[in-house]
Amino acid sequence: MELATSHLVVDFGPHRALDDVSLHFPLGSQLLLYGPSGGGKTTLLKALAGLVLPTRGQVLWNGRDRLTLSRGETRDAQAHMGMVFQTDALFDTLTVERNVALPLERKGLSAAAVEEKVANALARVGLKAAAQKRPEHLSGGMRKRAGIARALVMEPWVLFADDPLAGLDPETAAGISALLLEVSHGRTLIAAMPDPHPSLPLARTLRLTPMARDVDNRSTA
């Protein structure tokens, strides 16, 4: 799956969060968004994932303006994208296992198939033992991994990771980075964080600031 933005502008009321962003992500590309708080990193990720509407410009999924897609096409496209949210967005009322199973709901899979996919995703992030726990009883690093498992359970082509290392000690952060790099094999990985982290070296970086933006294409896509 190929993602792109073309002259993307996102305003929240009078406030401009993104100004004229044009990017292109072929399948398998990597990008690290960084910059100070309020720079629009989350907004760009959400716009790419279709959770925030462009004020002007376009978000393109496989070359098509996503606003022109039907409801079903939008749903199909979103099924190929996994988002690890900055706030992790896990439900404390559900077990880790059920949280991870959420994206599979309404996919018409048998209970056994769902169970297998969830078990695979949890094993991948090393959370098998915590499957029956509730997120509120997990450590910060474990919550992050549960969030990653939920983003991975659909086997997405594109993985968004919003501030995946926030609040983690260096060792846990290195572990999460390694996990992200490992699972991003063959997928597009777009990560956002305040500063580039040595443990997560991605091919391209883009600095977003509240005032000005400068693009640094180390290896262009």
């Binding site: 900055q86 992790d88 994206p103």
Partner: protein
């Protein structure tokens, strides 16, 4: 100063009202749309949370309302020599006014605040958006079940309150006024008609639905962190109570004309 000033003032006053009405209508419409395929588990969870866990409070309200009404009405019943009508008066007062209103106000605080705070937290923590990110409609999965559960819970709790209130009215009438339970319940049964019960339940259902809609709209409008959640809960209680008084004023004459 200029001709635009009054218009601007009107706009400042009217706009929030129109926006609120729009938000309520939207919550109602979307709940109705998702009614046929609600998540049973979420409904049950919300029913337990809003209904079952509010039982002690409801029993307390029923007890106090019942006993107070009889003690108060009893003074006048004695004065005018109408002791034998006390059961009817007490039942009537609790069914038509005290029960729905009192329970509505208590539930606006208990269920309304809770519903608004939960939804506000889900919104500000990004869980609602998280569901959209995986192509699940948060309204269908989280919001609609809460609207339905709070409306149903309040209506059921109200029914229970009336029974409890009637029971304590009988007890209070016996101990405070020496009225035998047979006489009290007799006048209760003779003069209260099924329509009185129906009217009371309708009223409560309307209040319950209003609390559910208002608190849901308040929760979904929340912005920002902890303060946003606090503001949403406060708004749910204030506007929930206000809507109950307004609805009481509006529907009591209608119901009374239709059912009596």
């Amino acid at each position: 100063m200029n001709t635009a000033a009054p218009l601007r003032t009107l706009g400042r006053v009217a706009l929030p009202g129109i926006r609120a009405a729009g938000a309520l209508t939207l919550v109602l419409a979307r709940t109705l749309r998702h009614l046929p395929h609600l998540s049973g588990r979420e409904c049950l969870r919300s029913l337990v949370l809003y209904g079952y866990q509010s039982l002690p409070l409801t029993l307390g309200v029923g007890t106090l309302a019942g006993a107070t009404v009889v003690l108060q009405a009893g003074i006048y019943a004695e004065r005018f020599g109408a002791r034998q009508y006390l059961g009817w008066a007490g039942g009537y007062a609790v069914l038509w006014e005290f029960g729905p209103l009192l329970l509505g106000l208590v539930m606006a605080g208990r269920v309304g605040a809770r519903n608004a705070a939960e939804l506000a937290l889900l919104k500000t923590n990004g869980q609602l958006e998280g569901l959209r990110g995986i192509s699940l409609d948060p309204f269908r999965y989280l919001v609609a079940p809460r609207v339905v559960a709070s409306a149903v819970a309040i209506t059921c709790l109200a029914t229970l309150t009336y029974f409890v209130a009637a029971l304590w009215e009988t007890v209070a009438a016996y101990f405070a006024l020496g009225l035998p339970a047979r006489v009290f319940l007799g006048s209760f049964a003779d003069m209260l008609r099924p329509n009185d019960v129906l009217g009371s339940l309708l009223k409560t259902a309307v209040f319950g639905t209003a609390i559910a809609l208002v608190s849901t709209a308040a929760g979904l409008a929340a912005q920002g962190g902890a303060r946003g959640v606090g503001r949403a809960a406060a708004a749910a209680v204030v506007f929930g109570c206000a809507s109950i008084f307004a609805l009481d004023f509006l529907i009591t004459p209608l119901l009374a004309r239709w059912l009596t």
